[in-house]
Point group: C2
Chain length 322, copies 2
Amino acid sequence: MSAGEKDGGHVLALSGGVGGAKLAAGLAAVLPPGRLTIAVNTGDDFEHFGLTVCPDIDSVTYALAGLNDTERGWGVADESWRAMEMLGKLGEAQWFNLGDRDLAMHIARSWRLREGQSLSEVTARLTGELGIVHPVVPMSDAPVRTQVETEEGVLEFQRYFVGEQCRPVARAIRFSGTPGAPLSPGFAKALSRDDLAVVVICPSNPYLSVDPILAVDGVRDALLARGVPCIAISPLVGGKALKGPLTKLIGELGKASDNRSIAEHYRGLVDHLVIDECDAADAEDLRGTGLSVTVTQTVMREAEDRERLAREVLAAAGFETD
Amino acid sequence: MSAGEKDGGHVLALSGGVGGAKLAAGLAAVLPPGRLTIAVNTGDDFEHFGLTVCPDIDSVTYALAGLNDTERGWGVADESWRAMEMLGKLGEAQWFNLGDRDLAMHIARSWRLREGQSLSEVTARLTGELGIVHPVVPMSDAPVRTQVETEEGVLEFQRYFVGEQCRPVARAIRFSGTPGAPLSPGFAKALSRDDLAVVVICPSNPYLSVDPILAVDGVRDALLARGVPCIAISPLVGGKALKGPLTKLIGELGKASDNRSIAEHYRGLVDHLVIDECDAADAEDLRGTGLSVTVTQTVMREAEDRERLAREVLAAAGFETD
């Protein structure tokens, strides 16, 4: 059965931060309410100043609400840093910068979590308040934390990513809290829907942003047992990541920074890989691995790019929009 | 023994928020390090968005650090409200406004409290980071909360003061957590110093800002047993409070809004009352109650006013400065 036969079917997108959030926003723009669930990596989450910061949930939320800063490439548009400056005067650590508008999100989330709400409940409330109609769900309500084993020891993700700017040489990636972290209710519901028609792995870092999602109890098994297409969008463009540490990291993990590594990483999970037109030469080689391959422009600069890519991804999975 | 015999003696000031903070800043300006402790009301403290807000400690801190907003009359100068606007977009309550710079204080305090530090420890750290050399100490590290019994029921202080703008008719004031709230270590130390030379009750609301301090275990007894002058500055000017609900409240509590009510309120505790020059006519009547009375300009608009009043208060207690 192809997804095309299920025109009313449901799309489940797995997303990390910025790159994934762009495609998630594209999918949200082309799919009506009730047809899309976005399950988001929470391995990057951490506590800072006693506040629970969820960078990828926030990137997706800001992108879907049209609040993301497109110039800086992360965080909220029209941001200011007054609280952070004052925290500096108060002698507090400055290595992780939190904008004033972004802080509001962390404050609202943290106090509701502390009052006993789950991350799923808090996220549903906050995204709803911002007018987002598609469910944005954490991969798990239990804490899963991405840790990078480096030559200088094990670093919590944000220490590695922001504190050390990905400088230490990585040896392996691990996810504390797994196994044992259950699927969030919204993610579990999406994975088990009768009308699930396609799973989309957004163009996020496979090792740092998608692997934590796959490490949540039951996700990999559910994806392996699925009866619907799974399509991944390569985060590489010309063998390099547009943003983030993937290019450096992939070499440190002993792999080539190319689409073959991406295809091998997702082997067995993914039926279809979307690669950028500047890597068109990879297509034939990749098809030899048994994958379907779509070659298109994967760089998303404007809303139109996000929506065009979303439509192409869904069409590649045999899924019609509009 | 007059305080004048102890020129190296220590001054203990009891302070509420804005008005008290001004005189506290004046005392801090005219006294060298080691000669002043400021014990601050924490009955107004409350939790908002999961953050511990200590309005009076912050008013004193901002005034002593020169960060207080003199035009608005409360909070931090050069304030902005970006986080609060975003909290509004996120559907969060807007009745209590927190500026971005002020939020930094609450964030820094709250996470250190949550990590197990006492309010005294946190306050010492934060005031120290802002360059404040005199100890600013909470009256107690235990939660004491001012509650206003009104015709519409019992209201937590900030609900009464900010949420309801002091509109409901007050019947009585009470302090949850007392008895049973011990003196903070710094307050206890100041009260028991051998060189304690004078206690100054700053021009704060006697019912809402000074009474909670007096309700802390041992404070009233220590003041009654003291061997040094205690001098209060009336918060009334022309029978009215410059700021806050005192004028309305004092009537609702069945008293006249005049210095005689202030004198009666502090009877037995205070030897000396400082009143404003526009209430000079009250002086003779007050002296009839056995109090010493100083008449001077108590309104503090500029730093010079604060310092002049501080010197006059200390001189009235027989305490020489410089």
